[in-house]
Amino acid sequence: MAIEKISQVHGRALPVRGDNVDTDRIIPARFLRSITFEGLEAHLFEDDRKQLQAAGQHHPLDESRYRGASILLTNANFGCGSSREHAPQAIRRHGIRAVIGESFSEIFFGNSVALGMPCVTADATTMAALMQTVESQPETDVAVDLNQMTVTAGETTYRIALPGAARESFLDGTWDATGLLLDRFEDVEAVAARLPYVAGWR
């Protein structure tokens, strides 16, 4: 497995405001009826987008000024609900390479790590400032730096946070864990042999 180290992500940003954006909204369940992840990006936020259109408004994803964005901005508890990896898959396949929010659901966060898409956190004030910058100047280059643990939008730099283990995984290129888990398989077998429900009741 080729190792890709991820220390910096930069590009235009896409603001998706709101707390508790759940994975049913990110990718409605009907699009999970497939044996691959291909084409999921076409349905990213589909129901939210259609409802806004029907009301004569636009979802940020449908605004041309955010086209080509590679960083998604959001608020608290993003990705809550269903464990469907289809959600981060759809986001990443759309071209997003990092998400910045106030907080993330644990399962969504882990799924994103496994795809090499960092989900970093910043406080509510920073998120408000970042969103305001991007909404008023969508061409602003937003740069996430996992070495410095900062995000820079235009001239301004803010602090971001990321749990140490996930940060290490991106910087070392070990975010795809399978190889690591198979490294010392004799240790796995030793644990199995110690568990009474695996090895037999004594």
Partner: protein, 469 residues
């Protein structure tokens, strides 16, 4: 040293500390279904790997199965493709699959405990967020994504961050008309939909200890709706009694040996917790959600919140929810007209749930404008209910009596809301679009409250609804 169940199970399953500081954790039971696994098997094949412990993985089909006509091939070609992929993958890798022909098929979180596959002290993973259900038996069980399903297939392990433990002690007697569902909705309302992020929830206290295993499963099931990936109850005599004689539970002398190990894995009396919360069971009322996340709930006789009395993000959230739901600030949820009534799901699709719903509707009839369905959580639940004659009670009352599956909980099968329909639902999520119509509306409540709403045609207070008891 005194430890919690989480710490003991964690230590017993730790393979090693990974270089990044995570723990490599052995997974004792891996449950798979058709939705989140086909891509994982493809990734496995692409890397030339095989399933290392095929006997520790068990498959079933639940999300996409139609509940009306379950004959193969399914009319829905995509659903049939997903089922066929699961069959192929299980066959190729020597994994046991409980499909409809086995008589044991059902929602993955119903059949695990039912067959005695789920046992105390285990680690259990499944590509489904409601895997926390299995914690009711004292297992450490959690949902994972598809890439992690690949990891478990390939190595029987996961790379995990440590969890803190919050003990939630519920004390006292539940009032009449108040069920396990109301208790967990209360916990989520109190602690928030993201209050449990980073925590395992240990449910304790005399209220929980008196609960049946089915009730404990309802509680643990919705841990994830409070942000906690793991929820568990310490194993006790009720757990052992539940497991005795089940198909995959230890038998004979092994059962006694197992009970000793299971008891030993329970939290020690003086274990330390990262956080503790107490709840008075007697104060909880029959609960109904009014919004678009499971934390937005009220007691059935309580006024809906008013955005004017909230600030900032909270105010915006209330506004958005009331607007989507078409409800008025300060009004009562009682009296809200419903279009659909759904009894089922991994939260409330077990025999005891069906019994509670049947008690309410016996001798009554579903309101003419309501479409009502009962979907047993598994084939054995359906069979047991039929042996008690519950199917007749439901059918005579005007409910559809269906085959086992996830059904209208998540709309990956033909059971869906249409347009702006409002559904009184015993399921677990009221997210926008969750039940299949992007504008459909969900009111979460206990199975008894769903049954009462089906009869009345609107949300009612179960306490004022004279029931057959």
């Amino acid at each position: 040293m005194s430890q919690t169940l989480l710490q003991k199970v964690w230590d017993a399953h730790t393979v090693r500390k990974l270089p990044n500081g995570q723990t490599q954790l052995f997974v004792g039971l891996h449950l798979i279904h058709e939705v989140t696994t086909p891509q994982a098997f493809d990734m496995l094949r692409a890397r030339g790997w095989r399933v290392r412990f095929p006997e520790r993985t068990i498959g079933t089909v639940d999300h996409i199965v139609p509940t009306r006509d379950q004959r193969r091939p399914f009319l829905d070609v995509m659903a049939e493709d997903m089922f066929a992929a699961l069959e192929r993958n299980c066959r190729d890798e020597g994994i046991r699959l409980f499909d409809m022909s086995t008589g044991s098929q059902g929602i993955v979180h119903v059949i695990g405990p039912e067959m005695g596959l789920t046992q105390p002290g285990m680690t259990i993973a499944c590509g489904d967020s409601h895997t926390s259900t299995h914690g009711a038996l004292g297992a450490v069980a959690f949902g994972i994504g598809t890439s992690q399903v690949r990891d478990v297939l390939a190595s029987q392990c996961l790379a995990m961050d440590p969890l803190r433990v919050r003990r939630i002690r519920v004390r006292g007697r539940l009032a009449r008309g108040v069920y396990a569902k109301d208790v967990i909705l209360e916990i989520i309302r109190r602690l928030g939909v993201n209050g449990g992020v980073g925590y395992a929830y240990e449910y304790a206290g005399d209220t929980i200890e008196r609960m049946s295993m089915d009730e404990r499963m309802t509680i643990c099931n919705m841990s994830i709706e409070g942000g906690a990936r793991v929820g568990y109850v310490n194993p006790d005599q009720a757990t052992f009694d539940y497991l005795r004689g089940r198909r995959f539970a230890p038998a004979g002398d092994d059962f006694e040996k197992a009970c000793r190990w299971w008891s030993h894995m329970a939290s020690d009396a003086n274990a330390g917790y990262d956080d503790e919360v107490e709840l008075d069971a007697a104060a909880i009322g029959p609960t109904v959600t009014w919004g678009i996340n499971p934390g937005q709930s009220v007691y059935v006789d309580e006024p809906l919140p008013n955005p004017v009395s909230a600030q900032g993000a909270e105010r915006a959230a209330i506004d958005e929810a009331l607007d989507f739901m078409g409800l008025t600030a300060g009004s009562r949820i009682r009296g809200t007209r419903i279009d659909v009534a759904f009894v089922g799901s991994c939260t409330n699709g077990r025999l005891s749930d069906l019994r509670e719903a049947a008690k309410v509707i016996r001798g009554r009839h579903v309101a003419p404008h309501v479409r009502a369905l009962v979907v047993p959580g598994s084939q054995p639940v359906r069979l047991a209910a039929e042996r008690e004659g519950l199917d007749r009670v439901f059918i005579e009352a005007g409910f559809d009596w269906r085959g086992a599956g996830c059904s209208m909980c998540l709309a990956m099968n033909p059971d869906k809301l249409e347009g702006r329909e409002i559904c009184a639902s015993s399921s677990n999520r009221n997210f926008k679009g969750r039940q299949g119509s992007p504008t459909g509306r969900t009111l979460l409540m206990s199975p008894a409250m769903v049954a009462a709403a089906a009869v009345a045609g609107e949300v009612v207070d179960i306490r004022e609804f004279a029931n057959g008891d």
